[in-house]
Each structure stands twice: as structure tokens, then as C-alpha cells.
Symmetry: C2
Subunit: 401 residues, 2 copies
């Protein structure tokens, strides 16, 4: 089963919008074992869209068209697909009504143009999910199929996950359920992880199911993806759960989270579960640590705030002592349970560049760690943010606080 992705919109060609949709769709297709050999961007032009879709249909079993389902005159994906199908467009009044109600619920009035969004090629069926005003389409052509989804990312994703991926798998004769889980790690290299998992990878090469794959993701750490195939959801979940347990046993606490969990989400959840509040002192990271924490903890119920400074250094104190003072001070000033400080070495510390002091004050106790981080100033800051959060995570785990 092969599926081509066609992203539609002149703004994509002009570079006004980066096409992230095709990347996401490509990733989802790969996860369920469907090949995608080409991804094409084409502008809002009837002839070129038709040529592109026909060409894609010739060399694939399925085509996903993304974009061009809006209400304006340059949104012509419906018309082009009808032409490729050799079908007429007919207006679906039930869809018109659905769109009208959607506008009404937002306190707005539907304009006439929006009726065009309810034009459906004869022989096509609607995708059940419709999070916006543009209906998605499943358009069979012989034993092949064209899908049409809106360019609005969350609408497209809802339709892919709700209908298209399953429909493609069914068409591929794939009765198995394919599921995956990402274990997110921080603190070991890809080759280091591969070494720890070498025996298990050998076993799985023989077994064939589940499979493991590594993906280095820079500041997001290294991801280990478990993919399982099974007759049904429950069986796939059971395979993944068993494999996850096994891998956690082998890798230990370099695994900080799963799937979309970021380091800051995990740390805030740990603090929340323990009823602890946090304040931070940023002597190196210039507000990036605070920004990432408050991005998750919108109400700032757990992360109460922080002090940002170019130089938290006090008098002639060495870096480690400065970090300790900063952690204790910020904890006291904000009246939180936990104070966390990250401070760069100063010239007087006589340390190599990239030396970073971290300190954690919890109640009367203080924990310290010094790390040596790579990279220019920009990367150093970002690595320092992840490292200091990971330091907090591991300390909470290790000390059983």
C-alpha cells in the first residue's frame, strides 16, 4: 500500500507558511506501515492541481490532499477532485446546516461563500469527524482512493486519526492493529542506549514483533519507539506494556516520560503529586526555564515564579556556593517548598567553559551537582534548562521525597 501526500496552497510555494502537515502525515503513515514515496506541494491552480493528483493516483494506491477546502474562490480542491473522479459536485444541505450551526455557536453569521464548503463530489463520502467548517472527503476511484482534508493542522489530524489511517489499513488488507509508544530518555547517547539494549534488539530481530527504533531529537533527548502489531487494540497494548517494562528494567531512570510528555511536564507532575511548589533562580538561562515551566503550568499553581539575572554571583563566593545561596534564597523569597538554581561558572571559578552549577533546596536539605555542557551560548542555555529539570527529577526520585 502506497500513499502520496499532496499539499495544496500557493502560500506554501511562496514560503509564507511552512508545510508541517505533510511531515506529520508522513510520520503517521510510516507508523502504520504504509509507504509514502513522494510528497508534492502545488499552488491553487486547477490544471496543475489536477495534473498533480492524477500523477499521484497513477503511481500510488491512495492520495491524501491537504488544503484548499476553505470557503474562498481559490479553494478549489473539491472541484479538482470531482474532475479527477469524472463526477459532478452536489451541495449537501445537511452539511450546510451543520456549518450554519457552527457559525451560530460562535456568535457569527455564515456568509454565502461557506455554502461552497458543502459541495461534495458524487460518489464521495464525508469523513465523520468535522472539527471545523470544512468537511473532509473519502473519494473512491476504482480500487484506489483520494482523501481530502483541510490544511488547518488540528482539523487534519482529527480526520487522519479518526478515519483515514484506519481506512488505509483496511484497504491494505491489514487486519492487525499497529500501535506504538515512545519512551523518552535524557542522559545517555544513542550508541550508549543501543549497547544497553543490544541483547534485546537481537531477540526482537528474530521475533519480529514488537520492533524498537531510536530517534535522536536534540534538546528533546533520544526517543526509543516500541511498535507492536496485534489482532486487536488490547493485545497490541499488552505487547507494548510488556516491552516497556522490559526496557525500563534495562535503561532505568534515563527514561523520563512517554510519547508527548516533555521534561517540564514530567517534573511539574511529580511536584504536583507530592504537593510541592517550586521557585527557580536563573543565573544562566535568562528566563527560558521559567518560560518553559509557566508554558505548562499556566495558572502558576506549582511553579510560583523565579528570579532571572545575568549574574547571581555574590561577592567572592565560588560558583557552587553561589548556586546553593541562590536556591535557598529563591525558595525563601517565593515561600515555596523547593528552590532550584542554575548558575554558570565565573572566570574566578577557573573551570572550563560550559561548567554549570545546579542546586536544589528542599526544606532544610540541599542537593548539588556540577555538569559540563557542550555548545555555544544558545545551546548551552537550552541544555542547561533540561539538565537542571532532570536533576530535579532524579533527586525527587532518588531521595523518595
Amino acid at each position: 500500500m502506497r500513499c502520496e501526500i499532496v499539499a495544496i496552497g500557493t502560500e506554501l510555494l511562496l514560503g509564507q507558511i511552512v508545510d508541517t502537515n505533510s511531515s506529520w502525515i508522513g510520520e503517521q503513515l510510516a507508523l502504520v506501515g504504509i509507504d509514502s514515496h513522494f510528497q508534492v506541494k502545488v499552488g491553487d491552480n486547477f490544471d496543475r492541481m489536477e495534473m498533480t493528483i492524477r500523477n499521484a493516483l497513477d503511481r500510488n494506491n491512495a492520495v491524501i490532499c491537504c488544503g484548499g477546502l476553505g470557503p474562498t474562490q481559490d479553494d478549489i480542491t473539491r472541484e479538482v477532485i470531482a474532475a479527477v473522479m469524472g463526477a459532478e459536485l452536489r451541495r449537501d444541505e445537511a452539511v450546510v446546516e451543520k456549518i450554519r450551526i457552527m457559525f451560530e455557536s460562535r456568535g457569527r453569521v455564515m456568509v454565502d461563500n461557506n455554502r461552497r464548503q458543502a459541495d461534495i463530489p458524487e460518489g464521495a463520502r464525508l469523513i465523520a469527524q468535522m472539527p471545523g467548517t470544512a468537511p473532509g472527503l473519502v473519494c473512491p476511484i476504482g480500487d484506489k482512493v483520494i482523501y481530502a482534508v483541510p490544511g488547518v493542522p488540528h482539523e487534519m489530524r482529527t480526520m487522519m486519526q479518526g478515519t483515514i489511517l484506519a481506512d488505509l489499513q483496511r484497504r491494505a488488507g491489514e487486519t492487525a492493529v499497529i500501535r506504538s509508544r515512545v519512551l523518552r530518555t535524557w542522559g545517555n547517547s544513542e550508541s550508549g542506549l543501543a549497547e544497553q539494549l543490544a541483547d534485546r534488539i537481537d531477540q526482537l530481530d528474530t521475533l519480529g514483533n514488537p520492533t524498537l527504533a531510536f530517534q535522536a531529537s536534540g534538546m528533546e533527548g533520544i526517543k526509543v519507539r516500541i511498535t507492536a502489531k496485534a489482532p486487536d487494540e488490547a493485545a497490541a497494548e499488552a505487547i507494548i506494556r510488556a516491552e516497556e517494562g522490559l526496557i525500563r528494567g534495562l535503561l532505568g531512570d534515563v527514561i523520563f516520560g512517554i510519547d508527548d510528555q516533555s521534561m517540564e511536564t514530567v517534573v511539574l507532575n511529580m511536584l504536583g503529586a507530592r504537593g510541592l511548589t517550586l521557585a527557580v533562580a536563573e543565573g544562566l538561562t535568562g528566563g527560558v526555564l521559567s518560560a518553559r515551566l509557566s508554558e505548562i503550568d499556566h495558572g502558576m499553581a506549582i511553579f510560583r515564579g523565579g528570579a532571572v539575572s545575568g549574574d547571581l554571583a555574590v561577592a567572592e563566593m565560588p560558583g557552587a556556593a553561589n548556586a546553593a545561596a541562590a536556591a535557598a534564597n529563591v525558595r525563601r523569597d517565593f515561600g515555596t517548598d523547593v528552590g532550584l538554581a542554575v548558575v554558570a561558572a565565573q572566570a574566578r571559578d577557573e573551570q572550563p567553559p560550559g561548567t554549570v552549577y545546579m542546586n536544589l533546596a528542599i526544606g532544610a536539605a540541599q542537593y548539588a551537582q556540577t555538569v559540563s555542557l557542550p555548545g555555544d551560548r544558545d545551546r548551552l542555555r537550552n541544555y542547561a534548562v533540561i539538565n537542571v529539570l532532570n536533576f530535579l527529577r532524579k533527586t525527587l526520585t532518588d531521595t523518595s521525597i
Copy 2:
């Protein structure tokens, strides 16, 4: 003149990397008046790459191939282009030597695979710029041309700007120089700007040169792009300078910067020019303001630091009074010339959601402004950051400090 962009790499199809290169190239082509009707992503597969490049060459005058010039066995762009040209690859020993020296200067040893990067199709010429170990290629085929550039963004950009854009313009018979400048605005809507510029836009429609274009860029404000065509660089620059002066006269101080200047860059430059230091109190923006300022002012020489808190509110003081106290306090605590505070209205302020109090303390003087911002919490925070920086910018301008 039409040019197709072919992005090469299986990792692009799998969604492991988002293809931002094609977007950037598309934008550059549009700026110099070259059409791009299709952009294609294809994996590291000989037959499919050859088919894609031949197809692109059929329907265009030029093709830019991006990626697949690395040293590993799946980097086969050189081989595929040679096949399309019907030419042999020959190893350029001068390039081998260049690569060897590049490795040496980084304290590394060149491995044998890297020699492959010096394989050049007969009849192709090297792109003069070579910022990495992969040489770029100009490969004429009849009166058409294939360019090959590496997938590493900064290497690709250097070659586009140094060689390819000019070569395409020359091939298009375009002897004119096309240059553009972006005027960046904050504080007026696209329709508002268009109204202020209506007469001038009418005049330019008749004149035809220079041209004006608007581009809404969300949190980055609305961009007004001036594009001028002239026989040479100096004449193009003169046209742009004159037009910029005219537009600045019409739009006034909603223009905060040009080209790549962000709001924080502009504000830090203004403070720096006046010898002023800054501290901020973030009662709403959770560290995002500090992070953006320190991202530019790495050494934190002007932006000295800030206080981040979920609630800067004091006792029963109303929001505006809280913002004033926070600005004065942060200025005192950090010992800076300027204190800047941004605070959200609390329930007791009895204001509509999105009400934000801003205050600026300079010496003994204080300036206040209240704004009502749209959006959910995430957008609100980001809008508040730009608004409070713009408030500082305008106050510095208006008060002639």
C-alpha cells in the same frame, strides 16, 4: 523562468525533519520574480529521484535539488544528476584537498567516504561558495539547468544567495537588480495600514516600480515589503530608500524595525544607544519576556534580569497600582535605569479578560498604559510580551529619553 524545487531525503518523507529549505527557497525565488509551481520531496532512492528530477526538468527551465550531497552511501544526488545529464562522475582532487583541510582545521581526520563528496558530473561546475564539506553544483543540460545544494540550511542559503539566484536571473534575461526591504510594524491592522497607504499604492500601481506587499505575521506583526527593480545595486537601494522615507512619513511610529529586526532587538538597541539598563517584572508572561530579551542580549549587559511571578499583586491594590509598584521595585532591586512591569488584571479589578497593565519606571518618572488583548492564555502571554516591549519603545521615542 520557472524553477522547481526537489527536496531529497527519506527522513523528510518520514517526518523526522520538517522541510523548511523548500519554503525558504520558494520565498527567495518569488522575491526575484521567478515562478515555482511545484515543490517535491523524494526519498534517497535512485529511480524515484531520477524520475522526479527528469519530470521537474521537463516542465521547468531550472531545478534546484536540495540534499543528498553528504558522504554516506545513501547520499546519491551526484550519481542521479550525472545519469540525468548522461555524464560520468569524475573525482576533483582539488575538492578532496579542500575537504581534507576543512577536517584538519576542525581537528578531525577525513574518512575515505568524504572523497565521494568531490565526485562531479562531467560538464558541471562547482558553486564558488562552500561553507561545509559538500560542494554545490551547477549542471547545465541544453538550455536548462539543475542546481545541487546541501540540505544543511546555512550551507544551502549561502549558495543560493552567492550563486544560484543571480544565475537564475541571468538565465531569465533579467539584467535588472531586484532588491527588497521589509518594514516591520506593530499596532495597526492590515486593513488599517492599507488604508493609510491607499493613495501611495494607487500611484505605485501606475508606476509599477517599486512595489508594496503586506504580509501578516502573527506575533511578528505585519510586514510591509518594498521591492525595487533597477539597473544596478546602487539604483535599487536609492529607490528603496526613497520609498522607505515616504512610507515612514505615512505610517509613523508603528514601524518598529526593518528586515530581520525583532521587537526585542530594536528595544535593546535603543536602550544601549542611550546607555540605559533594564530589569523586568513579569506578572503575566511567566518568563517569556526575559527569555526573549536574554536570547538577544546574551551577556545580559543591558537586560540585567527580572522577577517572574504568578501573582505580583500586593494586598488590595488595584492592577494599575500593582504594575506601578512592580516596575519601581524591580528597578530598585536590580539597580537598573529602567524597570518594566506587565501584570494581568485580577478578579478584584473587575475588568474584562485580557486586560493587561503595563508600567515603566525611568528614574523618578513612571509611565502607565492599560491594554485589552485577545486570545487564549498562550496567545495572550505572547501578545503581552510584544505589547509591553512596544510600550517601552514608544515611550523612549515619545519622551525623547
